[in-house]
């Protein structure tokens, strides 16, 4: 091939499609450089503000480029409605997390510059992860997000729990990436392509490689989303990580890791749909039962929320089992719902941790209503949302999953959801009872609460209710994104 021809085949990337990621990328590099160059006193002011400016402009650019869809970078990067929707919430929640970071780390006396650029890089990676069909890009982004999470988890260098959590996460995370990439290899052998759309629409003779590939790929992702029996890292990592990071991992991380699975859903043909339904359904059932039963006996609030996160992976997976548009819509809604409510719950805990002598035990929530009424109220809203009490997003999510399950006549799974929700009533309601109906055992006073923190919690609380009461606002994005995926 002549050089001229080679140059002729180069297509210029459509940066408009990549604009939000580009902004986050630039922010990340600027933060990285400034962290090396500046003095500590300046860093404290500049790094958060630059991050905030970067994220906010990425958020705005997501809306500006919202209507644009298409592939770029030689079809390795796809911008579609689903990606945009998830990215909107990823960036929004990251902004919320950022509001908490500064004071939290200063309280723990470990404010390091790497927090800011690692947060930016991880956000970037999770934005790329949700917008690609290319196995190589998915692999790279998956690795990228995970490395970010390992480092962020271990940010408290002195803490034993943090190191333990990060180490466990590193080992199981490495395994998951290995499995996912191995699965990708088999899919490539089957179809001779690394594009998921082509692989799953390819009509080959030998399905064994495809099945093996999908199974390994899914196990890789199942580890990342904390599905039982691949969940062992999750409670330790969630407990060990600094709480704002836990909020970030639970919400943004879960959304990012679920989306590639969601993208496979519509491509599962008639041939596999039964096997898919059974496999995913069983994993979902086991996951939600296990998560809820173990959460019931937890004494540490972060571990409790971590097990509730496992249980929610189960609920979302129940929607994944239904490979129809309604199932896809339920999954997308539930993902966003879970992102909002888990971020809120963990961030509320992050705020409480700043109160003197707070040890993250559940008993300390006694009488919280008297010492911090507004915080207790928003925490109660998050608990009710996680439980699925109307009118919160958790309730709408469960309703949609029920609708999806009855669409495919998966009654047994629906009954297991009811059973595990019944189990979960025990611990969510216990927290509400402690906060509102018991007398306080100890004075809780959060020192120097900043307006940004309050605002961020208030926004998340409002979103928890408003996205349920006025669902049409995000439904206009969910509905087309699910239907476009099915058109292929």
């Amino acid at each position: 091939m002549e050089v001229k021809e080679l140059i002729g085949t180069i297509e210029l990337p459509d940066l408009g499609l990549f604009l939000p990621e580009l902004i986050v990328l630039i922010t990340a590099f600027v933060l990285f450089t400034l962290d090396l160059a500046l003095s500590p006193a300046r860093k404290r002011l500049l790094l958060p503000s630059i991050s905030a400016i970067g994220y906010v402009s990425a958020f705005i650019s997501l809306f500006l480029t919202g209507g644009m869809t298409g592939d770029t970078f030689y079809r390795t990067f796809t911008k579609d409605t689903l990606g945009t929707l998830i990215k909107i919430f990823e960036v929004l929640i990251t902004i919320g997390v950022l509001a908490f970071a500064n004071r939290y780390f200063r309280h723990r006396r470990s404010l390091y510059g790497e927090f800011y650029y690692m947060l930016a890089f991880t956000l970037l990676a999770s934005m790329i992860l949700v917008s690609s069909y290319n196995l190589i890009v998915i692999y790279v982004a998956l690795e990228f997000v995970s490395i970010g999470f390992y480092i962020l988890t271990a940010l408290m260098r002195g803490s034993f729990i943090a190191k333990e959590g990060a180490y466990k996460y590193l080992i199981l995370g490495g395994l998951s990436i290995a499995l996912a990439s191995y699965g990708a290899v088999f899919m490539y052998i089957y179809a001779g392509s690394i594009d998921l759309r082509e692989i799953l629409t390819y009509r080959g003779q030998d399905h064994h490689y495809l099945i093996l590939g999908i199974v390994l790929f899914l196990i890789g992702f199942a580890i990342k989303i904390g599905a039982v029996p691949f969940h062992f890292w999750l409670p330790d990592a969630y407990q060990g990580a600094p709480t704002p990071i836990t909020a970030f991992m639970a919400s943004v991380g879960k959304m990012a890791f679920f989306v590639p699975v969601v993208r496979i859903m519509p491509l599962i043909g008639e041939k596999f749909s039964f096997a898919w339904m059974i496999t995913v359904g069983v994993i979902a059932a086991v996951t939600m039962l296990y998560g809820n039963i173990v959460a019931l006996v937890q004494k540490d609030i972060k571990r409790l929320l971590a097990y509730s996160s496992i249980a929610h992976s189960g609920y979302i997976l129940a929607g994944v089992a239904v490979t129809e548009t309604i199932g896809l819509k339920a999954v997308i809604y539930f993902l966003i719902a879970y992102g909002v409510m888990s971020a809120g719950a963990f961030l509320a805990v992050a705020l409480l941790e700043r109160s003197g002598g707070w040890e993250n035990t559940i008993a300390e929530f006694s009488g919280l209503r008297f010492s911090a009424p507004y915080l207790a109220f928003s925490f109660m809203i998050f608990m009710f949302a996680l439980l699925g009490v109307p009118p919160t997003v958790g309730f709408v999510g469960k309703t949609l999953v029920f609708m999806a399950l009855s669409y495919d006549k998966l009654w047994w799974l629906a009954l297991i959801i009811i059973l595990s929700t019944a189990i979960s009533t025990g611990y969510y309601v216990r927290l509400v009872v402690l906060m509102y109906m018991k007398d306080r055992e100890k004075e809780v006073s959060v020192r120097e609460r900043s307006y940004l923190e309050t605002a961020s919690l208030a926004v998340l609380t409002l979103l928890t209710i408003l996205l349920a009461v006025f669902p049409s606002a995000i439904w206009e994005l969910i509905s087309p994104s699910a239907e476009i995926l099915f058109q292929r």
Partner: protein
């Protein structure tokens, strides 16, 4: 079902007014809390009286004052509110009893702390309850149905007696978990309808047109029934009720017994019988037997109770048994009996719980043995107790007479044996009421404590009067009430005629 648009959004208004006052109570100063609380429920009561006046009784079967606001177009979720004859009587019950409960709370000694939250909870619960009885969209109905749980959960847990936390937990878990079945049922009904018609709709009117027959109908009936049977409660599922009542503050018990339980029976008539006639007909013998078992079992349990609030709670269960038995007899008399008894039991049970609360304020105990002869030096109160008790027993002229009499009458259509069984239930309910009256009036005890008791007066007297007037009205002029709802229930029964 015919729909008549609202000339003015009365229903929205009566949902919004208590909710707005609830917010006002929360943010205004402690001093005005009680005034605001009473004002909120009073205004709502007046709105309901206006609705009662404007309601077109010649078309009581159609849904009047109908409003519709779109929530989610693709899934067909609409906030559709309206009032037909059946809703009207429950709506009236809600506004009346909420007013009574709030009037009672003004002078209740149990309520001394966290007043704002208390009135906030009760006003909100009024708002949600009106939502339950007026929504004609299944998911909106479910949201209100579930929301009513929260204020009562807090009322029991915060202002209750000794075992309040245990009872609050139990209440929450029973109701919440059982209503998950309802949620699954609603989702399934909608999806099944979608698979037939190709469009999602949660609207009651659209689902009425859908034909849920065979296994699907049975499955849906059972899913709906579990939720409502726990709420009502029917016998194997009733154990949360005595605990909740035993520990709830008086006003909480009043709202719980008078309105919250009626949500279950109202929904059974509206949804189970209304939407799944074929399944209802098939399961009818079992349902009637569950009802009769509830009557008998709860009556026996009532007689042995030592705590007067648990006593009234069990008597409530047995009355709910009457309501359920009557409705599943599936004839005109039975339906009339069922709905009139819902209203009547609302009045008498509220009054009985207030009697228990009143005596507690004087004697500081719920123990039956300590209550012996306690009304002796309070003549006015004694009259109220006697009137309520006889009305609850089913003496002619009292409110429960029509419920019990018509149930027996409609059971007679299916044979004398069944009628005798129901009559047996009525006999036991007379037995426990007489036992209560004997304890309060005739048993002797040392009079030195009793002599200092002041008689009932003020707000408390007013709240009793508000209940006694309808009790006597139903007793002497039942047709005033039958006229409200008979057309609506006839419309529901009409679907059975085609089935044979």
């Amino acid at each position: 079902m015919e729909i008549i648009e609202a000339p003015f959004p009365f229903v929205t208004l009566s949902i919004a007014v208590p909710a707005l006052f609830a917010l006002g109570v929360l943010y205004l100063s402690q001093k005005h809390v009680k005034i605001l609380g009473v004002l909120g429920s009073l205004i709502t009561f007046f709105i309901s009286l206006i609705v009662l006046y404007l309601f077109d009784y010649s078309r009581a079967g159609s849904v009047q004052f109908y409003e519709e606001y779109l929530i989610l177009e693709e899934l067909g979720v609409k906030l559709s509110l309206g009032i037909d004859g059946l809703s009207l009587i429950m709506y009236l019950l809600t506004t009346l009893v909420s007013l009574v409960a709030i009037l009672w709370s003004i002078r209740d000694h149990q309520i001394s702390t966290r007043l704002r939250e208390y009135f906030f909870a009760f006003l909100l619960s009024e708002s949600f309850l009106i939502g339950v009885f007026t929504s004609f969209d299944l998911i909106v109905f479910f949201v209100f149905y579930e929301l009513t749980l929260l204020p009562m959960f807090f009322a029991i847990g915060i202002w209750g007696y000794k075992l309040r936390l245990y009872s609050a937990y139990k209440f929450f878990i029973y109701i919440f978990v059982s209503s998950l079945f309802l949620l699954l049922g609603v989702a399934t009904a909608v999806v099944l309808n979608y698979q037939k018609t190709g469009s999602f709709s949660f609207s009651y009117f659209d689902l009425l047109k859908a034909d849920f027959s065979g296994t699907a109908g049975l499955l849906l009936f059972v899913l709906f029934f579990i939720a409502f049977a726990v709420k009502t409660p029917l016998v194997p599922f009733h154990t949360w009720l005595p605990d909740a009542h035993g520990e709830a503050p008086t006003a909480g018990s009043v709202v719980l017994a008078a309105i919250l339980l009626k949500m279950g029976t109202y929904a059974l008539v509206r949804f189970n019988i209304g939407l799944f006639p074929e399944a209802t007909l098939k399961l009818m013998p079992y349902l009637v037997s569950i009802g009769i078992i509830t009557i008998l079992y709860a009556s026996w349990m009532t007689i042995v109770q030592n705590n007067v609030k648990r006593f009234v709670a069990y008597s409530s269960v047995s009355h709910m048994g009457f309501i359920v038995t009557a409705m599943f007899l599936l004839n005109r008399e039975g339906m009339k009996a069922s709905v009139i008894e819902m209203f009547a039991h609302g009045m008498t049970s509220a009054s009985l719980f207030m009697i228990a609360g009143f005596i507690y304020n004087r004697l500081h105990t719920f123990n039956m043995n300590s209550l012996r002869g306690s009304v002796k030096f309070m003549p006015l109160f004694a009259v109220i107790v006697a009137l309520t008790a006889f009305a609850s027993m089913g003496l002619p002229g009292g409110s429960s007479f029509w419920g019990k009499f018509l149930t027996v009458l409609s059971a007679k259509e299916y044979g004398t044996k069944l009628a005798l069984l129901v009559l047996g239930g009525a006999f036991f309910s007379a037995a426990y009421v007489l036992y209560m009256l004997k304890t309060l009036f005739l048993d002797v005890r040392e009079e030195s404590i009793l002599i200092h008791f002041t008689d009932i007066r003020g707000y408390k007297l007013l709240s009793f009067l508000l209940l006694l007037i309808p009790i006597l009205l139903i007793g002497f002029f039942p047709h005033l009430f039958f006229g409200m709802f008979v057309e609506a229930t006839d419309l529901i029964l009409k679907r059975f005629i085609n089935l044979g």
